[in-house]
Symmetry: C2
Subunit: 276 residues, 2 copies
């Protein structure tokens, strides 16, 4: 693992690191914020999964998380959204291929050699973080935006023992019934829709929910409401009697401005679940 940069911010350290990934078969970059407390003791870890077209960098620079992470004493990890490189498959569309891994393990050509973001964020990267940084791997929570909200919810519901809480901003909430999902799952996972269900947060919510609190924020002026399908997840949460809150935020859209506005509340929510 190599350090690409480390910047002091809110008395902690915002690092960017690159490592050869066995899972993805390429170099992978991630960012990790360590709060001031991490200089002398281990701290809990919040995962932030990003949306379409993003790298590790977008939320790191635009979501304003470091201030709250410093105050709360929480590390934040920002993984990339896909494998990358000249020898990694790609597509001209912004919503398929590099920058659009959808947090699944591809079984189909040409994607299967590298597009293994499910295993990367659930296995390899957590092990790497736990081995190299002062984080408490038995105190984790997870959040994300859009495609990353989809990732956060599906990872949390399938690795429930790992996370104290999950939240999402404008998640792709029902990808098996959306053009943000059907296209990508067909490409990555193949035509058998039975294989898709494990990656749909509305279906997972209906099936078994999450053993901890859930917080969802969705802007009412989001330009992608038809693709996100928040109503399906809201219905599933209510039907499940899920411990959770689904909030519609009037006038907010799909941008980082929306996320920055409600980030403090999400981080306080996770801190509470993590007993911080």
């Amino acid at each position: 693992m190599k350090t690409l940069s480390e910047n002091r911010v809110f008395d902690g350290v915002q690092g960017v690191y690159v490592h050869p990934s066995v899972t993805c078969g390429c170099e992978m970059t991630f960012a990790l914020y360590l709060p001031p407390e991490a200089a002398h003791s281990k701290v809990p870890l919040l995962w932030y999964l990003s949306g379409l077209t993003c790298t590790h960098e977008n939320a790191m620079t635009k979501a304003g998380m470091q201030k709250y992470a410093a105050e709360l004493g929480m590390a934040v990890c920002f993984p990339d959204t896909s494998p990358r490189g000249a020898d990694v498959a790609d597509d001209k569309a912004f919503d398929l291929g590099q920058g659009a891994g959808f947090y699944v393990d591809a079984s189909q050509a040409p994607w299967d050699p590298h597009f293994r973001m499910w295993s990367y964020v659930t296995g390899e990267l957590p092990r790497l973080i736990g081995d190299h940084f002062p984080v408490e791997m038995d105190r984790q929570s997870i959040t994300g935006h859009s495609m990353g909200g989809h990732g956060a919810l599906t990872v949390a519901m399938r690795q429930a023992e790992r996370f104290a809480s999950v939240s999402a901003f404008a998640p792709i909430a029902n990808p098996v019934a959306s053009d943000w999902g059907r296209k990508q799952f067909t490409a990555y996972l193949g035509n058998d829709e039975a294989d898709w269900a494990a990656h749909d947060s509305s279906l997972l919510m209906r099936d078994h929910g999450f053993d901890g609190p859930v917080l969802i924020d969705q802007g009412t002026s989001d330009q992608f409401l038809d693709l996100l399908r928040p109503e399906t997840l809201a219905e599933a949460m209510a039907a499940r009697r899920q411990d959770g809150v689904f909030r519609f935020q009037k006038g907010y859209d799909h941008s980082y401005f929306f996320m920055a506005t409600f980030m403090e509340a999400h981080m306080a929510f996770h801190a509470d679940a993590l007993d911080l």
Copy 2:
């Protein structure tokens, strides 16, 4: 004037607008954040001048100002850093030409037809803002970063009646004695160094200071300390007995992470001067 975008953030509106500039002879883009209070009454205005290579967008997305502006009830204007366009002169260097206006009015070819950022930020843009938005033009303050810190300080000291307070993050503090200054002033203003003095905040501070409070933050790990020359401004402030604080922040560099860390303190400082 045309609206390029408006996003809801912290219950206010982050707008981006473009207008034909008489001063610069081209279309100019600026961003303006209006806090929730501006929906029903006029609010004070804080100017944020950006550094080399930046547009209106960098601080708007990375400095985290909207949260504090919303809480304090303050508008924030983010001008661009130069004229732009295919028919506007430019240079291959990042620190001359487009993205590097240095907040001066050029008198030399090929720059003089468009590079009039001094007149733009001291005259045309304030008039436009005052005419079109609910801001109190008799309650203004100004801040900036690097080249924009230079701009904020020089504009404030030469238009003292306009501003209640001035602050800067890692300003280019003594451009007449720095490679970030001598090169650009020669290109834009010509070889007569007497014409440069009106654009050097250390010289202006020695000569007459600012009739209000001044706050400067400078990181001790800034990679550009030799070019910024903070010691010259600190000495001038002390010699002048300027009402002000010059803070060296241990371990911080020149990045937006540094600025984001201390933005809350700067905005509270301006709010205090503006009687908010």
